[in-house]
Symmetry: C2
Subunit: 307 residues, 2 copies
């Protein structure tokens, strides 16, 4: 399971001394810039401003606890601040785990780095499992960004003499698909083509895609997932065209079903403006749910992460 | 069937003396600018550059024949130039009709204005029929822009004491939904909310939409339609959620089915850039089919235009 150069998005947050370095995903692909956090308030602001997402947020949470411990900050206060950043994401499992370690007198200086090491191995294993589902010549459609897992999947497949290529939806309004996924796949040398979010049905009708692989921000106990807005639509369209729909999942949360997942509604200007350019009439109403819930019945296979 | 102020998009091309005035839809909603055509070559360039679309292109073709006749230009040459502008659109029915009038000695100075007058009445009748399908409280989802018909439909409905509101997909990459449809509906005083193209399934899953109404650029004999890329996907999703899907159609072409409709592939930079801002890695491949074909079986009702 050895891999070559990992995507910068596979491990986008690191810690050195008392500083956390966060790859600023909002600046990619034009600039590869790391912003710094020197305390939990800065870390929470970075999460709220979507400077990092998905696995980057998990790393940031864990490093922030480590840093806060070094700074002798009350960890319950840190946990509370983290849990109030974004409604859809289940940081609570993580923050409860760390508070529990503390309560039981387990030294965080060791348990947090151990956890992160297990996470890294588990993610590589998850990519390895996904690669095993592919065959030579597969054309994968993906949405948003799965934090460096797709180049790794393509690399495992390549080592197994399977050539894989990709289509990626640009993923409005933040364009994580074109800015992050297209960038990391191109950088790693895999064929990738960007489409707009509305081209999926047409593309599938042409028989141009053999499998869909997406990530998930939340996995409920019944197999429903929450992921970037637009995932549900792709699942519906994939089912219509009988294309397998695979999901790279995080560990399950405590929620029974997707119906219990609270969907974060973000400010409408994030949809109406792109880098300061107004894309619609100034006064018009817009609606921006950041995630949607894809029911388990539309998912061909969950690829689980075991930490 | 009297209507108040029509949307500027209902009749976006006009002629005065020997000058054709074309509402430049690429500048909306920030600026309401008219560009001029003084001959068929300028008219064809405006079509190629998508300065006007849909009914605007029909008006532009007809006024261009009228102008060319005044300028004593060979009309067969004009027809040929028009037919080579955009592959998916069926200008041939129009150009053949005009050439046939000429051949049979029918004076174009009268037959073209008569045709345009019939077209205007027919479009108003089409909007009136669509309004008849709606009921009080309906929430309509639409895509792209149906050339001023939606505010007219809402107005007919309002006169019939039915309150209608709208969701509109922004319609990447050209954003005709947010720039044109949201603008004209807001201007006419109807509630409208912009969403990105990937939010349709989520929105429908919430029960927020009661009907879908879209336009069509091409109607084949079997009822298949070609319309702005993304229409097919909405039709698939609407069927999944059992939401009626209505299409405001142009007159049928001579093609037997949607399979015979040639889909125009536009330059990838039109997807990768928005107003000069790069939205993806510079060297990445992109794919931009301008239209897709929605099969008749996904269409609840065709609302025909009889000219």
């Amino acid at each position: 399971m050895k891999t070559g150069g990992l995507s910068p998005l596979f491990w986008p947050v690191r810690m050195k001394g008392k500083v956390i370095y966060i790859l600023d995903e909002t600046r990619l692909p034009q600039r590869e810039v790391y912003i710094k956090s020197r305390g939990y308030r800065q870390s929470c602001a970075a999460i709220k401003d979507m400077k990092t997402r998905a696995v980057g947020q998990v790393l940031l949470v864990m490093y922030t606890f480590l840093l806060s411990r070094m700074q002798k900050v009350n960890l319950a206060k840190v946990a509370k601040a983290i849990n109030s950043t974004r409604p859809t994401l289940s940081f609570k499992v993580l923050t409860d785990m760390v508070l529990d370690w503390e309560k039981r007198g387990i030294p965080l200086e060791k348990s947090i780095p151990d956890f992160l090491e297990r996470l890294k191995r588990s993610r590589m294993k998850q990519a390895f499992q996904a690669a095993g589902l592919l065959k030579d010549g597969d054309v994968i459609l993906t949405h948003c960004n799965v934090s460096g897992l797709l180049p790794l999947i393509a690399e495992f497949a390549r080592k197994d003499a399977k050539k894989i290529s990709f289509y990626v939806t640009e993923t409005r309004p933040y364009l994580q698909g074109s800015r992050l996924t297209a960038w990391e796949l191109m950088k790693a040398g895999y064929p990738v083509t960007v489409i707009t979010d509305n081209m999926v049905a047409y593309l599938l009708s042409l028989g141009k895609v053999t499998k869909v692989i997406v990530g998930a921000d939340h996995l409920a106990k019944n197999g429903d997932i929450a992921n970037k807005i637009g995932t549900y639509q792709i699942a519906v369209v994939a089912r219509y065209f009988k294309i397998p729909f695979y999901v790279l999942c995080p560990p399950p949360s405590r929620l029974k079903s997707g119906k219990e997942i609270k969907i974060e509604i973000r400010p409408e200007n994030e949809l109406k403006f792109y880098r300061g350019i107004l894309l619609a009439p100034r006064e018009v109403k817009a609606y921006y749910p950041a995630f949607d819930v894809t029911p388990a019945r539309l998912i061909t296979k969950h690829i689980h992460l075991e930490v």
